[in-house]
Symmetry: D3
Subunit: 167 residues, 6 copies
């Protein structure tokens, strides 16, 4: 069985597209090494939501809202390959979601690590996105115009294609 037919030139960089159809990349002959990725999602929540979240009051709503988003984002990193069709399933060795307040924005970062044959960019991106979606869900009764902005990869390490850092 030949599994790795050479794709034609045009399709080469769409790694998930071969002969006009989508496909999972064959990583079985690559070697495993440590991979990390960090993604960021910025959520604009607006003044009204922020004034309720950011109180000095220790009984503010920030606790439950932030912790729910952190947990949802972390759990989502583990479901990434069930959501993204051609993403390899990977046993993650680390996932961490952090949220900080910046003006009227919440800045979410999701860091992920594994020791495997392929990277964890999608896990980090998915974790950040689902944490952001959870913020929306927890706050949408106050402001339906909340927007998720700039879900993007901040950095990755490990793997043949080299490290990446979003300047």
């Amino acid at each position: 069985m030949v599994m790795n037919d050479q794709p034609d030139k045009t399709e080469q960089e769409f790694t998930h597209v071969r002969e006009g159809k989508p496909s999972m990349v064959d990583v079985s002959d690559k070697s495993a090494n440590k991979r990390t990725a960090v993604a960021e999602a910025i959520v604009w929540v607006g003044e009204e939501v922020m004034s309720r979240l950011d109180g000095a009051d220790i009984f503010s709503a920030k606790g439950p809202v932030f912790q729910t988003a952190i947990i949802a984002g972390t759990m989502a990193t583990k479901q990434t390959s069930l959501l993204i069709p051609f993403c390899h399933p990977l046993p993650l060795e680390y996932a961490d979601v952090k949220i900080v307040i910046h003006g009227e924005n919440l800045i979410i970062t999701c860091a992920v690590a594994t020791t495997n044959k392929t990277g964890v960019e999608m896990e980090a991106m998915t974790g950040a996105s689902v944490a952001a979606l959870t913020i929306y869900d927890m706050c949408k009764a106050i402001n339906k115009k909340i927007r998720i902005e700039f879900v993007r990869l901040l950095s990755k390490t490990g793997g043949k294609s080299g490290d990446f850092s979003a300047d």
Copy 2:
């Protein structure tokens, strides 16, 4: 059993936060009616990706890339309540993901409908987000700087809180 203890004033608008802890909203005494929601995700893919996607060539990669994102987004609408902690599980009656090209951006819309006691905003937002994440996955070998921008609710109808339209 009293399930609907009145929350204190401060927490009232964080519908998922009661007495300092997160909680699912009790919708059991609401009446079911038709609910729709449409969300949008804009993905900046850059010139290099776009030149490959948008060829006149009928064998371009657009087919598999777009259809994979459409399918992933649709399937994600059905997994929303497994991803967002306090989101009610809802049997969806319609889900549709569309993608159009606009300059160097892909504009994804996800429309969802159900007849139920609570709305489908989160299903639409999640479907749009996962379609966007799938675009990232399919194109990241070409450009890791692809960004998801402006995941937001475009409109909703049905439900006591009234219709919503993002201007």
Copy 3:
């Protein structure tokens, strides 16, 4: 928001294909009524497997093999909409998997019922298929040539398109 654009003639019967892209059918304006479906899967296991399964011995392996397949098939009916991309999620009200021996074949039937706006053919087909796959898994160490044959719909009732019975 117009959700039900009329599809062009050619695509009309591919209910999941609209404007050249796949899509979930909008059933939100249909009325709910009782739907049933029964599907069948025939698994040829061969003489060697059958002689071990069909012993008069009450301690034969039939118990665990059959019951594992029955349970797997039943659980799969509940996961159908997570497996089949444009299948509506439905709260099933009944699912039953039965297995009988016929020569060197196992005949699996999966019956499903719900009261909803759309049918349960896919749930019955999926339940029968996964029960058959489980038979394969439980017996493959004895005979890797086991084949699943004739997964098909036996009957359906309820719904606008009328009842169906396979001859």
Copy 4:
């Protein structure tokens, strides 16, 4: 198709066992009404864990530990039918997990409600159990002898079999 063959006497009360094989109960001809259930799980954590959880300190670990358990328990109520083989899938309308400290024990209650043809006892029991398992996971580095005790149904309402209250 006759779906409701009368089971023999002996099996009548094992509602999930028919003709010597397990099966989902057919609820398709029952009528929908409001159902609630509350379950309780008591977790003995011991003195060492409790002294860390129950500090007056607002930076105590209680926040994250309790909230993680509350969220895990709530999410588990939504996955009940994927875990318990013959449990009907139900769109829950309410789920709430609470935790209080009592001596060296944590007392977890999980309340669930839906409007449907069958009850939500298993959802309440599963939510309480998974919240308890999460407490174990969060505290096991301190004390591996933590025990989950007395997962039980406290009450149920709705349904033909009548209301139930534990003593």
Copy 5:
């Protein structure tokens, strides 16, 4: 703890049955090596469906129907251990679903690879089956008599039990 009690002779070949009860095989002491498997599913769709799928027209329905089946089959390979009770969870390193037209039949092949302690036959069989079920779902409005035929293992490599090829 003795995990590997010797099963009695009769049960030896039903690797998932031990002492009259089903059980997962203990592979913890086996060594990891590359495993591949290819399975095939043949779907008879009939003349009417085929005439619509196989048009020379580039806007034929083949695109969405085939690609949806390919994606569903690929995603199903990743869910195999959640569907088949005693199947080991495996991080797949490759999965590929192909569909070709042959007369009134669609011939689906699903190839899977991993580097692990146990084989991937079930992943290949499940991927082929779910792709076939998706074909049924996409085409059933035209012909409910579509049949899945001959889901079977074509080949496997790797593992102590040796390679297999269905001549």
Copy 6:
């Protein structure tokens, strides 16, 4: 990227709590070795249920009830990381659920093994719990007062923190 900031003293033993927020432990720099864990759940079912389960009659309900619980518990071990928020996903190499009768109690043990960087206590605890919940579901029509008692870890081996045995 520094992933392993030193937590402050107070939080050190709550391995999942860092800087006041919950987090997955970073195990990426640990070495993989064989890990086992065994957990136990005791279910008090009462005299009435037991008299039906424990008949000399080979057609007693014990078969389906026990096997359903065994299968549900085994499948749950594979879903543990989707249920417990900060539990690492692990490809299990062995899982086995056993049930024995002791007076009016059912004693469930769940044994799990893997070769990995972190332990499988949670998988064993979850498998035992879900098997116990399934017993409740299968028998609740006879006795709603069934109680799950003493879910606890019996033993673990492997890993830096040493072996553990409950007295």
